[in-house]
Symmetry: C2
Subunit: 150 residues, 2 copies
DNA sequence: CGTAACTAGATTGCGCGCAATTGAATTGCG
DNA sequence: CGCAATTCAATTGCGCGCAATCTAGTTACG
């Protein structure tokens, strides 16, 4: 039994929740990478495309709120998606501060291939829907608690 | 009930486990950041320090295996830790391919402050030990399954 | 009306994270 | 022994992720 003294308190990597999350996050990106490569997307770009498939024609800010990313991340990312011909960027006529991001036809069509990626990931995760859903909800709860406290 | 056709299959961001992990990982780094700043560490640097507090004088490769990072990430990171005076880097005498990383006295001493960070994170997570441990184990299992399949 | 506060997006700078390449040291095999 | 294959670390290049700063457009308030 370790003493309460700071000099004796152990910091064990394997017991830390944060390290488990860190590792799982990397495992996911590694699993996604080869699946998204044929679509010409990185994982964050894939997330942006999902938000657009859910709701087309959104301002950058809305996408950022949805994904928890700021313009420093999104501006160059969206420029790359535009370069790939998947989205278009136009100023909102009524509020010229806004840049609205819309799917091109190519971007819209990509969704069909993305569905296969989602299914492949489901197989890679290799656990039941309920188990995955429970884990997901626990993580969402955790995130909310952490965001509240600071 | 959506049809099995790819054109109809929905990809809902909020139902995706990967997005929950992605978000939780970012929430953790955001929570760690202000706590680690006084120590002059980033979160990945903190992970490296933990592995060294557990086992001093390790080759770069061993640290990489432990954390799942490669030399492309570790080389510059370790150089910054050396710059901060927390670690030293010396070639192994017996096998000159290896660079052994050791804690300096300053690096060793930092552990006491790190203990307080760990405790603060525990409070921020704001859930019981058993709950956190269960979540952690579920994530470790998930990671293992994903790494096996590719 | 006009200025101050606010908001949206872009840019810069820095630190990962990872693939690919390089170079040096070591091991293995004929 | 000698050469090929392997291993380790460093480097390069690219894409996030985020803080800080900047510019332009909008809103609020006197």
């Amino acid at each position: 039994m370790p003493k309460a003294d700071s000099r004796e308190f152990e910091i064990k990597l394997d017991t830390q929740l944060c390290f488990a999350i860190y590792g799982a996050a990397h495992a996911f990106t590694r699993t996604y990478k080869p699946l998204l490569e044929p679509l010409g997307l990185t994982y964050p770009q894939y997330l942006v495309m999902i938000t657009l498939w859910e709701d087309d024609d959104q301002p950058v800010k809305a996408i950022g709120d949805r994904l928890g990313l700021d313009s420093g991340t999104l501006s160059p990312l969206l420029k790359r998606l535009e370069q790939s011909g998947l989205v278009s960027r136009k100023r909102d006529r009524d509020d010229e501060r806004l840049v609205r991001i819309s799917l091109t036809e190519k971007g819209s069509d990509l969704r069909q291939k993305a569905v296969e990626v989602t299914k492949a990931i489901g197989r890679a995760v290799g656990c039941g829907m309920e188990e995955a859903a429970a884990l997901r909800d626990a993580l969402i709860t955790l995130r909310k608690r952490m965001n509240e406290r600071d």
